[in-house]
């Protein structure tokens, strides 16, 4: 409006200068006028003039009324004169009279009057203008149902706009009904809506297709997605949303290309396996990615002791990520290629997972309450034999073995057990409904200088097993941020705490559910006690007497300090501490044994594993940013100090006087320490990044890191890593400037070296440890061969990618090809026995290659007032290959790996059919010696690497309703469902088609030829089968509640399903968890709400 007050003329630069001066003057002027108007304000206006210029009349009105009047001289017709007679008129009356013959309109704002030229109405406008102008109000919300303050609500084409207030409300007067509203807020998709008087609640979507606005967290720095040179996948709280999952990894499943996550058990506390772009290291434990939470390295290694947890949670117990509440997470970024990971140096080889928790806002405080209740069930039962079919198989089996009289222990078929009895053991043992509940409450808010958030959550995840078991989780998130008044310094702190108290039975009942004879006895006696049926069976519910308990507490605090030193130089520091404490128990009272054995509490035992791990880190950094014309340079240098400590003790107590004190080691007659380890890890690094952007079209990104780790000998401690990434934003080239189809196009590539020091502490030291053997006081044995010279595992990564946005950003596509070669593998290098050890830990020049393609797309099918629909998806395929392995044939690895094959291969017997005479399975006798043994004849290779995996999702919304779908597909080979049952004909139930499928006739185990053949059969290619699947991973239907209770309350209600449906040819319980020993991922339906006030 100041511009209207200025005089026309002058060059552009002069104009700007004048503008500036005028602005200052106006400010002073207004200030003084306000003073003056105190006396004159509200005065009536009396003007009597004839044929005066409009300018002079307005001047008179200004003087009399005390109102300040702004207008552009250019618009005043110089020769048009006015004649006016006014007495004691109001300002409005005065202006209406004066301007009635001009095509002007005016606005009054306080004591300021602005006069503008009226738009020339078209014919159409004139027709429409007959409609009355209306007043429009509405409320703007985020997708989470929170108020969005400060959003711009503009009338399209008019230049008029208002901002939403702290409750997200807006109000506009004098809006024509044909007008359109544009609602915009940075980071959100702009809404374009037809006006109506009550617009209701309007939900703004986070703009993920607007590349210009999105930034991606790359760990030490953030980068505009558009200018990104590395490969980074991201999901936000929106995708994590209200999925009924306890572990953030579950929410990531199927949503990121190249990130392969497998759930191996449906029991609470059971873990997930994550692999980012394949297996790089020959050591299984050397393949885990680095997790960083709010800049602090997260203790992500499970602290579980296999002996304690394997029976109930397989080998993936207590994944520490379950201690982070998915609802506390704002975003998860996965760094994949060299450009993104090399700045993490020796810890980046297997990818980096960055987790950012939620923060406070600069908005007024919002209280939010969220809750959901979920029911989980085993989604699929196997089709097993019923009693009649089962007993027939058993009888046939004995008859095939030539046994006419059933042996004494054939209780099922001999008549000891009721031949008419039938129990569906799957329904009985794993058929319950697991009830999960979660409640969380948060306060979130702040102002320009302070922000805070507090969220507390409590949850319980139940099980499908008989009995009251489950995992109770408690989470606390607290965040506070402060910016100094001059906005030069910012400090913020996060506190994230998770606690899980998992109480389970001793053994996963899935195997029992699948293998118990269908006519096995009842579980309970009439008096309610466990039925042992005179000692003829092991009641599966005996495992409910055994207890597995794990209590884990993890807390993390991060402190961030950021300050401007000069205009383009910023100092940052991140300091953090993360601690994890675990207390794990396996309690085995003698009541798990058949009472007929007459055991007492002398046979009871308990085991306890106590762990404590902590890590702190400190990372001071300097960031530099400067634009020189078309050149933009960003740089950072920083250094890391990190110390980690781990301690673990595992005890076993047995022979108790009474089971009552089975957790009191004082009551045990025998007490033994199973293991006792304490270790320390120190790590230091300097890192840097140099980024150069030319003309918004060319980007070069150089990162580097020098790492020192206490895990290596003094001469080998330091290693250098680095990468170069580059991108060409060809979509910004002139040729595409006016392209109707290409909105954005980028070619990018990177090459670099990352490393891995995941080798365990002290491995380079020449140490002795207690062997456990005793001779006159003990035996100390050398822990390993002493090699002070091993060093970093290196991973050379290469990537090329293309990213496109088409048709006005409606469609975005990206595809990437990568090749990673892992070298210098830190494994036991095979040595001849004359050295005293079979291996020495050293850098073996074995090479593992991972190559793959990744594809991601997003398509906004519809975007309109009421309807919004987009599709998105990803597809990735990884190939793993062992390129080199010196000395493979002579090493203990020769039965595990083969050159040119993936490291997840497995050697099996080559099944060739059935012998027509004996009826036994036959196998290829590779060395032709007439006998079959593992070393010489297991030569066929089965590849268990997933061929590809994909995720496809849909997000649709209509007004307040939204429906989200996610499909997850994996093509892979897996363990045959029939494996693990034992030979058809023996004393275990079988899949109902087992006898039909089996080429070998049933045997009760009394035919050695058939026994031996079957034992090889399960080690042949027949033990594997197609385990591909497409799964409706998640479906969520939500309704955003419009303003209730006087607009202060808003919210959202939803129902959501997880693992809703699976399409697969796999005949077992589940193609993802496979096998018959662990509970498959559950189908979970949940209903919940979010309320914001």
């Amino acid at each position: 409006m100041y511009r209207n007050y200025t005089k026309p003329g002058g060059s552009r630069r002069l104009y700007q200068k004048i503008c500036l001066v005028m602005r200052l003057i106006v400010v002073i002027l207004i200030a003084s006028l306000v003073q003056v108007s105190a006396a004159t304000f509200g005065q009536r206006i009396t003007v009597h003039q004839k044929n005066a210029s409009l300018t002079s009349v307005l001047k008179e009105i200004r003087l009399q009324s005390g109102f300040d009047i702004f207008y552009d001289f250019k618009i005043i017709p110089q020769h048009q004169k006015v004649s006016i007679q006014l007495d004691n008129a109001t300002i409005e009356e005065a202006l209406n009279t004066v301007l009635k013959d001009f095509k002007f309109q005016y606005y009054i704002d306080g004591t300021i009057v602005t006069i503008k030229k009226k738009k020339e109405p078209s014919v159409l406008d004139q027709i429409i203008s007959r409609f009355q102008e209306i007043e429009v109000r509405g409320k703007v919300l985020t997708e989470n149902g929170e108020f969005l303050a400060g959003a711009t609500v503009a009338i399209k084409g008019s230049g008029r706009s208002v901002k939403t207030n702290e409750k997200g409300d807006f109000y506009l007067q004098n809006v024509a009904e044909k007008d359109k509203l544009l609602i915009s807020y940075i980071g959100y998709e702009t809404l374009e809506l037809n006006v109506k008087a009550d617009m209701g609640s309007l939900t703004m979507k986070i703009a993920d297709s607007k590349l210009e606005e999105i930034t991606v967290n790359a760990g030490y720095y953030t980068v505009k997605d558009k200018e990104r040179t590395g490969s980074i996948s991201k999901i936000t709280s929106k995708e994590i949303g209200q999925q009924p999952v306890a572990n953030p990894l579950a929410a990531m499943q199927g949503r990121m290309a190249g990130v392969h996550i497998t759930q191996s058990s449906g029991t609470p506390g059971g873990g997930f396996d994550i692999q980012i772009r394949g297996r790089n290291s020959l050591r299984t434990e050397g393949n885990a990615p680095l997790y960083i939470v709010d800049g602090v390295p997260f203790l992500s290694e499970s602290n579980s002791t296999g002996d304690l947890s394997v029976e109930i949670l397989r080998n993936t117990a207590n994944n520490p990520l379950q201690l982070i509440n998915p609802n506390d997470i704002e975003s998860i970024e996965v760094l994949k290629d060299a450009d993104a990971t090399a700045i993490y140096g020796s810890r980046g080889a297997n990818g980096v997972v960055l987790i950012t928790t939620k923060k406070g806002t600069s908005q007024p405080t919002v209280f939010s309450l969220q809750s959901h209740t979920a029911i989980g069930i085993v989604p699929n039962f196997m089709n097993l034999m019923k009693t009649g079919q089962y007993l027939q198989m058993r009888r046939d089996a004995f008859s095939n073995d030539g046994i006419t009289e059933f042996p004494a222990n054939a209780y099922d078929v001999k008549g000891t057990w009721d031949a008419e009895r039938y129990t569906d053991w799957q329904r009985e043992l794993i058929g319950r409904k697991a009830v999960n509940q979660q409640v969380s409450a948060s306060l979130r808010g702040g102002d320009k200088h302070n922000s805070f958030m507090v969220q507390v959550s409590t949850a319980k995840d139940g099980t499908v097993f008989p009995g009251d078991y489950g995992n109770k989780r408690k989470n606390l998130l607290a965040q506070f941020g402060h910016t100094t008044a001059d906005e030069n310094w910012k400090i913020s702190t996060q506190f994230v705490r998770g606690e899980s108290d998992n109480r389970l039975l001793g053994v996963d009942l899935t195997r029992d559910a699948l293998t118990l004879a269908p006519n096995a006895p009842a579980l309970y006696n009439q008096d309610g006690s466990l039925n042992w049926e005179n000692g003829t069976w092991n009641n599966p519910l005996r495992w409910t007497n055994q207890t597995y308990k794990a209590k884990n507490v993890q807390w993390l605090t991060a402190w961030n300090l950021e300050g401007k030193i000069t205009r383009n130089l910023t100092f940052k520091a991140v300091a953090g501490y993360n601690e994890m404490n675990g207390d794990e128990w396996k309690i085995i009272p003698h009541t798990i044994y058949n009472p007929a054995m007459g055991l007492t509490s002398a046979n009871s035992s308990s085991m306890q594993g106590i762990t404590k791990a902590s890590v702190w880190n400190l990372e001071p950094q300097l960031h530099f940013e400067e634009q020189f014309g078309r050149h933009k340079v960003t740089a950072l240098v920083g250094t890391t100090f990190l110390k980690q400590q781990n301690a673990k003790q595992v005890w076993r107590a047995s022979n108790f006087g009474s089971d009552a004190q089975i957790q009191n080691f004082l009551a045990a007659k025998t007490l033994r320490i199973i293991s006792n380890t304490v270790s320390e890890y120190a790590y230091q690094a300097v890192f840097t990044r140099l980024n150069y952007l030319y003309d918004g079209r060319f980007v070069v990104n150089i990162t580097g890191r020098r790492d020192g780790s206490s895990r290596f000998g003094p001469n080998k401690r330091w290693g250098n890593f680095g990468a170069v990434g580059a991108a060409w934003l060809f979509g910004s080239e002139k040729i595409f400037e006016n392209s109707s189809w290409l909105s954005f196009g980028k070619l990018r590539g990177s090459y670099g070296i990352t490393g891995s020091d995941r080798i365990g502490d002290y491995q380079y030291l020449d140490t002795y440890q207690y062997s456990g053997g005793v001779y006159e006081g003990g035996g100390l044995a050398p822990a390993r061969l002493y090699n002070p010279d091993f060093s970093w595992e290196t991973n050379r990564k290469m990537e090329a990618a293309i990213e496109l946005s088409l048709f006005n950003n409606r469609v975005s596509l990206s595809t990437a090809y990568y090749r990673n070669v892992s070298d210098n593998q830190l494994v036991g290098v095979p040595l001849p026995g004359t050295t005293g050890f079979a291996t020495v830990l050293a850098n073996l020049p074995a090479e593992v290659e991972n190559t793959g393609w990744e594809l991601e797309f997003k398509y906004r099918v519809l975007s309109g007032n009421d309807w919004n629909w987009s599709l998105f998806g990803n597809w990735s395929s990884n190939r793993n290959k062992l390129l080199e392995f010196p000395g493979l044939e002579a090493s203990t690895y020769k039965n595990m790996y083969a050159l040119g094959q993936p490291t997840s291969m497995i050697y099996v017997y080559d099944y060739t059919g059935t012998d027509p005479v004996s009826g036994a399975y036959t196998f290829r006798d590779v060395n032709g010696d007439g006998v079959w043994n593992a070393a010489d004849d297991k030569k066929r290779i089965v590849d268990l690497t997933p061929r590809y995996s994909a995720g496809i999702g849909s997000e649709a919304s209509y007004r307040n309703w939204s429906l989200d779908l996610l499909f997850h597909a994996v093509k892979q080979q897996g363990t045959n469902h029939a494996l693990g049952y034992g030979m058809p004909g023996t004393f275990t139930n079988q899949p109902s088609d087992a006898v039909i499928v089996s080429a070998q006739k049933p045997s009760a185990g009394y035919n050695n030829v058939l026994n031996a053949a079957y034992s090889r059969y399960v080690q042949s290619q027949q033990a594997f089968t197609d385990a591909s699947f497409i799964r409706l991973k998640n479906v969520t239907l939500a309704y955003s509640i419009p303003n209730v209770f006087a607009s202060k309350l808003s919210g959202r209600i939803y129902i959501s399903g997880q693992n809703v449906f699976t399409w697969t040819n796999y005949k077992g319980l589940d193609p993802e968890s496979q096998g018959i020993t662990s509970l498959p991922p559950l189908r979970v339906w949940s209903a919940g709400f979010v309320l914001n006030y």
Binding site: E776, G779, L780, S891
Partner: protein, 448 residues
């Protein structure tokens, strides 16, 4: 200034990535800076020899396996288990049990070398202690090499702790091997105590001399064998005790034995040799062996137990009788005993032509076991002496196999029990992986 700053920063970094030493492991330096831990490092070898490898009384020990391999034991178990492969002489270079025998033995040798080096470099304790630890380590190293030599023929003699040297070692010719072993043993003898303790659970100078006597006997240097065996016999050990007490803890004839780990436990040998049941399910003594005893030999009466039925009897070794734990440990696993010295002296006398002494010595042995004395030396004394040793040492540490082998009678004797026996079976195959990892060990033993 900048340089100074950089160097300070860098030194700080170097120090930062230093960590404290682990508290649940001890560095080698610290181990050998303390007598107790240095001794514990040595004692680990006795744990291995008792529980894990070579002379262990468990299944993978040579007492069991070489008994199966030769004509002492019969295996009743089926499948591709080690005992069956040894019993049927179907060893291949890739056999896992052979590989384990080799690897774990060399592991003991490595540990002995660590002790020898560690003690030599330490000045933390008195000379007497140093001597004892070094002496024992030298003795064990020779003891293990000796057995490997008998089992595999030419083998490398390993005295270094550096894996870079040890991974390319070459075989040492048998002749040099005996010389080197003798030298080491003589040195060990000078370092160890001469006391005849009531319970000899650690090797003394007499254990060294006993092994030297055996070494020279195997090397057919009978004068030396006579000298060392006589020395040990004169030291104060005695066979003046009931035959059934031979393997009891504190037995008077024991020169060196291994005690169980826990008080009250007894020997592994008793666990595996004593079998119960109407039919043998694991192992029994060969009929060939049982039938070879003279009527009335106390060793047959007391050290062998008849099992099964009258129509289908089978026999198991009963030298060690305590299969279950007792309040106090009753038996130790005997590695060296005076009876062997008496036999060595007898054999040396016979080969040296000391006929009077030989006759006297032999008759003392015969009388002790309830057998009629010889009036004069029998002409087929070579065969009778082998039988005598067979009856004395059956199921003990592969004595039978080694005796047949050193006297050149292996093939002819074995063909009686195992018609498929081949001359090449005299040596075990060198482990295949070993040859692939260290070509200096080529060629493979003949026949494999």
């Amino acid at each position: 200034m900048a340089v100074l700053l950089c160097s300070v920063a860098f030194t700080a970094c170097e120090e930062f990535v230093e960590t404290d030493l682990p508290v649940t492991e001890t560095t080698a330096d610290a181990v050998f800076n303390d007598k107790v831990t240095a001794e514990a490092a040595l004692l680990e070898n006795y744990v291995s020899l008792r529980d894990r490898v070579l002379t262990t009384g468990t299944i993978p020990g040579i007492g069991n396996l070489m008994g199966m391999y030769a004509d002492e034991s019969v295996n009743w178990q089926v499948g591709s288990i080690a005992e069956n492969t040894f019993f049927t002489n179907a060893l291949t270079p890739s056999d896992a049990a052979v590989q384990t025998l080799w690897n774990d033995s060399y592991k003991i040798i490595y540990q002995c070398n660590r002790v020898i080096d560690g003690v030599a470099q330490s000045d933390a304790f008195a000379k007497a202690s140093k001597d004892q630890l070094t002496g024992e380590a030298l003795f064990i190293r020779s003891f293990v090499h000796f057995y490997l030599l008998q089992l595999f023929g030419n083998i490398p003699y390993v005295t270094s702790t550096d894996y870079r040297i040890n991974k390319t070692v070459a075989k040492t010719p048998v002749k040099d091997m005996y010389r080197l072993l003798a030298e080491d043993l003589v040195q060990a003898g000078t370092l160890l105590e001469t006391a005849v303790a009531p319970v000899n659970t650690r090797p003394s100078k007499y254990a060294v001399d006993a092994l030297l006597a055996r070494l020279y006997l195997y090397a057919q240097q009978y004068d030396k064998a006579l000298e060392y065996s006589s020395g040990v016999i004169a030291a104060g050990f005695s066979v003046d005790q009931p035959v059934e007490d031979t393997f009891l803890k504190g037995g008077k004839s024991i020169i060196w034995s291994l005690k169980p780990g826990v008080e009250g436990a007894n020997t592994h040998e008793a666990l595996i040799y004593i079998v119960t049941g109407a039919t043998p399910t694991s192992r029994s003594l060969s009929e060939n062996l049982v039938a070879s005893f003279e009527q009335g030999d106390l060793r047959k009466e007391l050290w062998i137990k008849k099992m099964g039925t009258e129509n289908a009897p089978y026999y198991h070794a009963f030298k060690y009788r305590e299969k279950v734990p007792s309040a106090a440990t009753k038996e130790h696993s005997v590695l060296l005993r005076l009876e062997e010295m008496l036999m060595i002296r007898l054999e040396a006398d016979l080969y040296l032509g000391n006929n009077a002494a030989a006759l006297k010595g032999w008759n003392r042995i015969r009388e002790r076991y309830g057998l009629n004395p010889f009036t004069e030396l029998p002409t087929n004394w070579k065969k009778l002496l082998l039988d005598e040793r067979r009856h004395e040492f059956f199921c003990e540490l592969g004595h039978r196999f080694f005796d047949l082998k050193r006297t050149g009678t292996l093939e002819q004797e074995m063909l009686k029990a195992k018609p498929s026996w081949k001359k090449s079976f005299a040596k075990l195959p060198l482990p295949q992986a070993e040859l692939m990892l260290n070509p200096n060990l080529l060629p493979q033993n003949e026949g494999y």
